[in-house]
């Protein structure tokens, strides 16, 4: 299945689009984008499409080429080959689109000896925030904008403290505040929730949703796949610099195999239940709960009948079991989440990839 813009591809299949024309609704669009450092190819013919107005996630294992891709989009690194457009402008002319782009790449970096406010002041001056009005008005406009973004990220109370005294979470917030300074149309964030506590993560999630609600395009890379799954409606997944998937998160997850897991009250009924469901046309298998444990355990072990079926069939399956005289100890549905999908697609387990809350 191709991974053309907006069309999901089966995980593990590299996406190649036939079209060479940039779609009108593309905030970011690349064709054959490649970066090589000597013989090492870090980004490999990447065909990227980030729709305007979407909150897009950018995921991939460590060393997948995410940061290099983002750097190329921001004009910090020159592509070795291919073409890329951001907000309709080529990345070879970053001055044509970066005034409408905010970014935080590879963590927040500021002068440790300056306060958060003074660091923002420096960037605001550099961007010409408040430009076009008189000197006094310009200064006031700049201060007001700085106060706005500080309040937006919840850092107003510590704005006058030195950056070097900030916690990692506060540094992240300041990085996001700096990215918001120019009232961007496109916001590119690299691991924005890194180092934040659960409450902070929730605040940033809400902030990103609110910003996306204003029509801003947000392209966010993250290792927290549960965050991406929760907040992003569009997803780009890469590995070794190559595209694995891009499209709607829901389409990716819908393409996965949903299952219904049942534990009969009597272990002897497991095979009979599997046969009943099999005769109804469902693919089933029997697993032993806790079978992964190699050591003896005090936890009871019961056979689990797994039916490959969408959760909408759970009630019908329960009725089938009851008609066959089988009482179920438990029945639950399971849809593979983004983490499982990701790990299956990338084919390896990355220690930095975490799924908060675990799979259900």
């Amino acid at each position: 299945m191709p991974a053309a813009p907006g069309v999901p591809a089966a995980p593990g299949v590299s996406g190649v689009s036939d079209t060479r024309v940039m779609p009108a609704d593309a905030a970011v669009w690349t064709r054959g984008l490649t970066k090589e450092y000597g013989p090492r190819r870090v980004v490999d013919h990447l065909d990227l499409f980030v729709p305007a107005g979407a909150l897009s996630g950018f995921v991939g294992p460590n060393g997948a080429g995410k940061s290099t891709t983002l750097r190329m989009l921001l004009g910090l690194v020159r592509p070795s080959a291919g073409e890329a457009f951001v907000l309709g402008e080529p990345v070879t002319s970053p001055e044509d689109y970066l005034d409408r782009t905010g970014a935080m790449i590879e963590g927040p970096t500021f002068h440790p000896g300056l306060s958060g406010r003074r660091n923002l002041e420096q960037l605001a001056l550099l961007r010409g925030v408040g430009r076009g009005s008189g000197l006094g008005h310009r200064r006031r406009a700049r201060r007001e904008r700085i106060d706005e973004v500080l309040a937006q990220v919840g850092l107003a109370g510590r704005a006058d403290d030195r950056f070097g005294t900030y916690s990692l979470g506060m540094k992240q917030r300041l990085g996001i505040a700096a990215a918001l300074l120019p009232r961007p149309k496109l916001l590119i964030l690299d691991e924005p929730t890194n180092g934040l506590d659960p409450a902070g993560i929730r605040e940033i999630r809400t902030l990103l949703r609110d910003l996306a609600g204003t029509g801003m395009t947000i392209f966010v890379s993250s290792h927290l796949l549960s965050e991406v799954e929760q907040i992003c409606d569009h997803l780009v997944m890469i590995r070794s610099g190559r595209m694995l998937f891009q499209g709607h998160v829901a389409d990716l997850l819908a393409a996965e195999d949903p299952r219904i897991l049942m534990v009969p009250e009597r272990d002897d009924d497991a095979e009979r239940l599997a046969a009943v469901l099999g005769s109804a046309g469902l693919r089933t298998e029997i697993e032993m709960a806790d079978e992964a444990r190699s050591l003896p355990t005090l936890v009871e072990r019961h056979p689990v009948v797994v039916a490959h079926a969408p959760d909408g069939l759970a009630a019908g399956i329960n009725r089938l079991a009851m008609r066959a005289g089988i009482t179920l100890r438990s029945i639950r549905t399971h849809r593979p989440n983004l983490e499982e999908t990701f790990l299956r697609a990338t084919g390896d387990v990355d220690g930095d990839l975490t799924m908060r809350g675990g799979a259900t």
């Binding site: 690194v77 000896g113 960037l123 550099l126």
Partner: protein, 261 residues
């Protein structure tokens, strides 16, 4: 470029950095003034006699400042290298390049701000050196009436220009080292190692080379050519050419290289 120039002053004016730098140059200038005044009646670093009459001349007002031109150059080189290379190593340069993607404008604004800062540092050193010279002159019986004359002020003005330009030459070397090495420690170490021991060794081993060694020529220029084989104008011309080449290399590398830090 104006935006870049103005924004560069935010980190340059942070109190710890500003007062640290001014305190260092004030100490250096005080040392220069004291050594110069107290050397009256004895010999200088090169073994030449220093007399009260020499110091009482109009040019005597700036002798204290000119005695520490190398140290002021070292400060200029270190400040420039630390500031520019620090942006690479901290990663703040990528924020700035996103805010001002026109790289040459960003560099021009930064360099201009640093140049003004270096000149300011030289002025601060001059104030300390001149004030201390006036204060200490009576101790060694040096009359100061010619220092306060028009010719004395003209000599001070010329000396200020020369020392400032000489320090800016050091700053250009610091900027090149920063953009090449992208680490403050490495840029300062390599810059100073070249400026001091390397050139000194080369000129000791092969003395005709001294007329072509950039840092030596900056020293010649800073003191107005007094006491050196290379004439002032020739030193200025050569320093200008070296600085132009170094500035061009700095600009090319700053514009072309990927920002991966």
């Amino acid at each position: 470029m104006i935006n870049s120039f103005r924004s560069e002053w935010v980190p340059l004016l942070r109190p710890r950095f500003l007062f640290g730098t001014v305190a260092a140059v004030a100490a250096v200038a005080a040392l220069g003034a004291m050594l110069t005044i107290f050397s009256a009646g004895s010999t200088d670093f090169d073994g030449d006699p220093v007399t009260v009459a020499m110091l009482a001349a109009p040019s005597g007002i700036s002798e204290g400042l000119e005695a520490v031109t190398i140290l002021l150059g070292v400060v200029a080189l270190s400040v420039t290298a630390a500031t520019l290379a620090g942006e690479y190593s901290r990663g703040t340069l990528r924020n700035q390049l996103v805010a001002q993607p026109h790289r040459l404008r960003l560099l021009a604004g930064k360099v201009l701000a640093l140049a003004v800062f270096v000149v300011g540092v030289v002025l601060a050193a001059a104030v300390v050196a001149v004030a201390l010279s006036f204060a200490l002159a009576p101790v060694k019986g040096i009359p100061t009436d010619q220092w306060a004359s028009l010719s004395g002020l003209a000599a001070l003005g010329k000396s200020l220009v020369n020392v400032s330009l000489g320090s800016l030459g050091y700053a250009v070397v610091g900027a090149l080292a920063a953009v090449v090495l992208r680490s403050p420690a490495a840029a300062i170490a390599v810059g100073l190692a070249y400026a001091l021991p390397v050139e000194m060794l080369v000129s000791r081993i092969y003395s005709p080379a001294a007329g072509w060694l950039p840092m030596h020529l900056m020293e010649v220029f800073s003191v107005g050519g007094t006491g050196y084989a290379t004439p002032y104008q020739q030193a200025g011309l050569r320093v200008g050419v070296f600085c132009a080449v170094a500035a061009l290399l700095t600009a090319l590398m700053f514009r072309r290289r990927d920002v991966t830090a």
